[in-house]
Symmetry: C2
Subunit: 428 residues, 2 copies
């Protein structure tokens, strides 16, 4: 098919009628497919069922350090869990705190405590007139939901193929004292699947923030979530870079096993400098007696060490890869050369980011919904759910089966074409 | 032995020398015992090991509602867990939210969110000049630590044998708009083991708070933790009482299985009115994707229903009862008629509350420590860790074995006598 943009009005009209017919037919099939969230599929969850055999009523429930994991104690987690999660992030166990089943909760808690108590003796953010966060976008909607809830002003930073636009990041961070944080998903970013380049990481590590209490929220959610063994993205370890500049307090790093073992029952971790970690523990000791250590033990016994975990991730990749490829192949086949869309081709993570013609995303998502395919709400990838171009759509291929994914992708491209042609007709 | 208070100075002197000798001897034995925290013992934890057999790699991991407990979803918990915890508290499942492994974390979160966002549209507490909490004391140190961290002014309310002094509670709550909350452990209170009388519960349920955003934090931590089958304390269900007065929004109720199954890996719950629950979920949906549902499933499969859980509690009682009785028998035998101490004789819960002569508690705890027996720090049971009389000591008999408990109790009474006689000599 030739570029829509080169079509005459008549050609567009005819195409529209044809597409409308195809859409009506598709809509009548009563599809019910969900590509909205980065949920692992049943077969991915099955991969970790063996973990449930790791402990039973006759098991030794003691941690390496001799403590009974069933009882209270060990606020920051058992040593073997700290080691495992430290290795996942490439940091030292003493810089790691093990949380509950959601790293999101650790992020929320750290922002919430900064609001109430300030960061390392600074003014509580809730007492300041202006608090701003930088939000590289498209980005993760649940990050933005946290800062929105706290009334923190969110500033959109454009993403480049190498990560956030660092000129803008530096401009804000180094000159505006009200900028207190930035949300980052540095590897296989949500939703674009972009991994920050070495230069971007180095520039993050050498920021000179105007605000002493500025922090980078480095959500390394997809740190070991590669799709291809021979084509992995490599992310520089940020604390090592920060150390070179004496800048270690700049970063809180997060990760979890939500997309390694069980999405609802993983373990999470935050890594931080010695100084930041002391402060984290000081508040944690009031808000909990410690997180679930039996689940920590389950994880460490199952994987043994980071190598066991990395091996396990290959099985996830084997399930996810064909789904990503099915979607990308359909996009390639159906949308190339039409000049109505662009999309990312990630080498890991959970999402594909799709860019429609400006002003079309909401309508595409609505059309899909009408025909039985649920997508993440258009705009969700931007602060305040407002995509300035109304063009970004997050595709989450993990949950449906490969077959369902193909059906969903076909309907999706049909909707993209129909909405685009309608839009172009308005502009002719 | 006769009352210390009736002894002459010479008698006291002689007694002191004798006790000092006994103490020196005891101290030389190198004891190392811990009666400081309400930790279950190994044999109590063993009672729940069977729970770990409830799920393995071949198990059906679906909840009653058909959802896969391994995946994301169901913010407020799986229906069978909501039912189980609702039955524990005597409320309806729709009023229940299931949290992580610590009800303390739910309490912290609710106070924290009230500080930041206010309660049901009220002014955020952090924006008010004065926020006060009532603290029936002696009480639970971890409650007081939360309010202290938030800079909330804590007002000590004396405990009576029927619960908090309700005249004072009513005086403050009904007339002082800055009083926003009260910490309660209504059944087998920590540390006295007092269960609030029906009249006290009814008076709580008919409070007319000056502050619309006043809330009762009803920490029903020991709701099913009876020591004696035939002599259980009964606590009125507070929501039912509140309903009679259209006062259901007054209360947040908390409970957990920390002292039912595994202290570090239980499930927690908060119960609240429809209106409060809506607000709780509104914030929870930003701070987590939902708590660990596999652990919820483990619990519900193991117990079946509340009756299974109640049956299980009898085994806990069988282990705890002899320890409580060992301590109480030693107190009775060694301290009765001496006019230097009083103590509670709880029918459930985890603690015995001990009252020494005024000005002696710190010294008794220090003497015990010196001789190898760790107690909860004196003062910990009062706001700001300041016991105005320096007389209350919390005894936690659960963790040591019965034999260790006897040793510890003997050393404890020896220290009580020695410190008391020293005190009395100063006053002669």
């Amino acid at each position: 098919m030739k570029s829509f943009k080169k079509m005459t009005k008549d050609e567009l009209m005819e195409l529209k009628n044809q597409l409308q017919k195809e859409y009506d037919e598709a809509a009548s099939k009563g599809l019910s497919l969900d590509m909205s969230r980065g949920k692992p599929s049943k077969s991915q969850l099955d991969l970790s069922n063996g973990m449930l055999d790791g402990i039973n009523s006759t098991s030794d429930m003691k941690s390496e350090n001799g403590s009974d994991t069933r009882n209270y104690g060990f606020l920051d987690g058992i040593p073997e869990a700290k080691k495992l999660m430290a290795d996942m992030m490439g940091v030292s166990p003493e810089n790691v705190f093990i949380g509950g089943n959601a790293s999101l909760n650790l992020m929320y808690t750290i922002v919430s405590n900064a609001m109430l108590f300030g960061v390392l003796g600074g003014t509580p953010w809730s007492k300041l007139d202006h608090v701003k966060f930088l939000c590289p976008s498209p980005g993760y909607d649940r990050h933005f939901a946290i800062t929105e809830l706290f009334g923190i002003e969110m500033i959109t930073i454009p993403m480049t193929k190498d990560g956030p636009d660092m000129e803008q990041v530096e401009k804000y961070v180094n000159h505006d004292e009200s900028v207190k944080g930035i949300w980052c998903v540095p590897k296989y970013s949500n939703p674009q699947g972009i991994t920050y380049s070495d230069e971007v990481v180095k520039r993050f590590a050498s920021l000179h923030p105007a605000a002493k209490d500025f922090r980078i929220f480095w959500d390394n959610a997809y740190v070991i979530h590669d799709l291809y063994e021979d084509e992995k993205d490599e992310l520089l370890e940020i604390f090592a870079e920060c150390r070179k500049n004496g800048n270690e307090d700049l970063v809180y790093e997060f990760c979890s096993t939500s997309k390694v073992t069980f999405a609802g029952s993983g373990i999470s971790a935050v890594a931080a400098s010695v100084v930041n970690m002391k402060s984290i523990k000081q508040y944690m000791t009031v808000q909990t007696i410690g997180y679930d250590k039996i689940n920590q033990l389950l994880h460490t016994r199952y994987f043994g060490d980071i190598n066991g975990m990395l091996e396990h991730m290959k099985s996830h990749a084997a399930i996810l890869r064909p789904k990503f490829e099915a979607v990308l192949n359909i996009f390639e086949r159906e949308l190339s050369d039409l000049d109505i869309a662009e999309w990312t081709k990630p080498k890991g993570g959970y999402f594909i980011s799709f860019e429609s013609l400006p002003g079309c995303a909401k309508e595409i998502v609505a059309k899909c919904k009408e025909a039985g395919v649920t997508l993440t709400g258009a705009g969700a990838t931007y602060p305040y759910k407002k995509d300035p171009n109304d063009s970004n759509i997050r595709i989450a291929p993990s949950f449906p089966t490969e077959e369902e994914m193909k059906q969903a992708a076909k309907l999706f491209v049909l909707c993209v074409k129909l909405v685009s042609v309608t839009k172009l007709l308005q502009e002719v």
